[in-house]
Symmetry: C2
């Protein structure tokens, strides 16, 4: 496999944005191209990661449309969709194309605009990720399933409500320092624990919101890196892994461990030839508070049942040994579904370059990891990036 | 790049099918796996090419869902969408993943079920591929644009209505021998030329119908080919190219030549290190009669303006020097949009194996080509396969 690098990243603010989905995608893409000091016509292929633009905005055919509107014609243009991990899957496809030697410069854009529909419509669109016959027909929603998982984890590992609240508190503490985050205000454990119940035991602040936003990355072959003079500043792609699981949660082997994450992480670590303890910083898919704990354990960053101990001891803080979601994560940075995976890549690239926002820069990280969930607990993508 | 092979193919009948989109995808996938003598659990990654399943059937998240329903969990699972070339783009992504050495066995499924919505609803869904501000707002449809192109081609190259009718006549002559084709009956030049006008000068029989159907292929590394004993019968992937063009037809450089096809073909030939005259059999995207002529010329199979001469002389017949669409093409085999690209691959694999249906087998072909259109005249994918 040819070496694969990242030479440019860009991102819009996440939140409720006035611009159209095309304009949001353009803003992130142009920033990434400018960051890479490239013009559009150098791009060999465009990958667009987006989950449900037709339903959320009425605008489909984004690969063809954005090839034109981003100025990359006649480059090949492909939309990739794996639910909320669409951005990471688009990144994975870009890695494969460059890794196979089929392209030298690939632009990856992850985008979603979710605020054009009413919030309950958005929830309905997102709920379609679940199993119709096993979950949707019984009124299950992603939040309800996350609540069930939380309850079981509390039972099995003694997690308390106040401990769980530490997760969104940390997310908001980081998000408050991230100028592109959807929510830039700190919250307290009391605020989380006393916020309205959404699905018992989950409270309002345990659940990420829906957001608008886009992120972009320029993926390059080593030939292109040398040609364009990026030899010193390019970030290396060490590995990527992708795993699925049974659609219905009830068909899976565990409620408190997600096998798709374990498979994706195992494959990514195997490709990167490193181990979990080598990770200096990571962005994990914390759509619900409980998921940050499951993800840390399933990736192997901590032992099973030990994630909350790490959180309580400050290990997952920006200044800790295993900084998790210095960006604020899905909870505070926001979660425009197709945009999230590429935003995670962008945030880890900034960390590895040492250019994260003030107060969010981890101390001299060399290797970073991203983890993105597709459906509810399946279709996971794990990527590993490095300065080395 | 690692060598890439095809070791199994499958396809449902195309037409109006009673089964659900999931059942159609399953039927094609299981046939491909059986053809490759593999069980589901050997698959490393699933790519699903499908255009608008949410709008056509109400069923989305097909990558995650099919990973479960096809039995490939915990393999990675990705949906790829580029409009009607979604199947070819899924195939391209599979080539990249195997070519990069990131997977050994990849299952590609192309599927669409279009008959669940009324025909005018289907047309509306398909028309959204066009430019809103430059085309849709003025009432343009794919058929209207094809009519405009036909008129211009007639003006520039002297094509007559009766000559144009030879294209669907050949398509139906071949389709009549294809047991999986949507339309298995022959038609005459008179029937075409006198069929109802859809968009002058295009008649009913110049336009492909909407279909239900799926096709599948198993893409394999050479390591897997040897491991599973397919060394003698595997089909080689020589090249793939992908090109885009400006969304609105009025922004393009020509009405009678599609630059996205030219770019895709050039890239595919360059990767395959062969020239157009090396092609022994091809499946081209003849959604409208005129497109078969444009495609032949843009791919370089004939000189500009000479395609109809080749048709009249029988060159594009099954027994001719450049057999085009022995399957019946989109016109007669049918066009379940996301399914078409993989069906083309499947049909060329059968040709190269020498196992095409009776009366459709080209004489000992060594190299075959597929060409699939994404939007209206953009997002093209060209693939080149070989026995050698």
């Amino acid at each position: 496999m040819e070496p694969v690098n990242i030479i440019g990243v860009g991102m819009t603010r996440f939140g409720v944005l006035e611009e159209s989905i095309v304009e949001i995608a353009q803003a992130a893409a142009y920033e990434a191209l400018e960051d890479a000091a490239l013009i559009e016509s150098t791009i060999d292929h465009l990958f667009v990661g987006t989950q449900n633009p037709e339903e959320f905005t009425g605008q489909g055919h984004l690969s063809t449309l954005l090839a034109d509107y981003l100025g990359v014609v006649p480059a090949g243009a492909t939309r990739v969709e794996t639910g909320p991990s669409s951005g990471s899957s688009a990144f994975e496809s870009a890695i494969a194309l460059v890794g196979a030697g089929m392209a030298d410069l690939v632009l990856v854009v992850g985008v979603e605009k979710m605020s054009q529909v009413a919030r309950d419509t958005a929830s309905k669109i997102l709920s379609r990720m679940l199993s119709l016959e096993n979950e949707i027909m019984y009124g299950a929603t992603p939040t309800a399933l996350a609540a069930m998982i939380t309850r079981r984890y509390m039972h099995d590992y003694g997690l308390t409500r106040e401990e769980l609240s530490l997760i969104p508190v940390k997310a908001h503490r980081n998000g408050a320092k991230n100028p592109l985050a959807h929510f830039q205000k700190e919250i307290s454990v009391e605020q989380v624990s006393n916020s309205p119940i959404i699905a018992d035991p989950l409270r309002l602040y345990d659940c990420c919101a829906t957001s608008d936003g886009a992120a972009a990355a320029v993926v390059a072959s080593s030939k292109a890196v040398h040609e364009y003079g990026f030899s010193d500043s390019a970030i290396k792609v060490l590995g990527v892994g992708h795993g699925s699981d049974y659609l219905a949660v009830q068909h899976r082997s565990s409620l408190t461990s997600m096998n798709a994450t374990r498979v994706a992480a195992k494959n990514a670590f195997s490709m990167a030839r490193i181990k979990p303890s080598d990770i200096d910083v990571c962005e994990l898919h914390d759509a619900f508070s409980i998921l940050e704990l499951l993800n840390m354990e399933d990736i192997g960053l901590v032992e099973k049942g030990q994630a909350i101990k790490a959180v309580k001891e400050g290990t997952t803080e920006v200044s800790g040994d295993i900084p998790v979601n210095p960006s604020g994560g899905l909870k505070a940075r926001g979660h425009p579904t197709g945009g999230t995976g590429v935003a995670q890549i962008r945030d880890i690239v900034l960390q590895l370059r040492g250019t994260a926002p003030i107060g969010l820069q981890v101390d001299n990280p060399k290797i970073g990891l991203t983890h993105n969930i597709g459906g509810f607990g399946n279709n996971m993508v794990v990527s590993i990036l490095s300065t080395i």
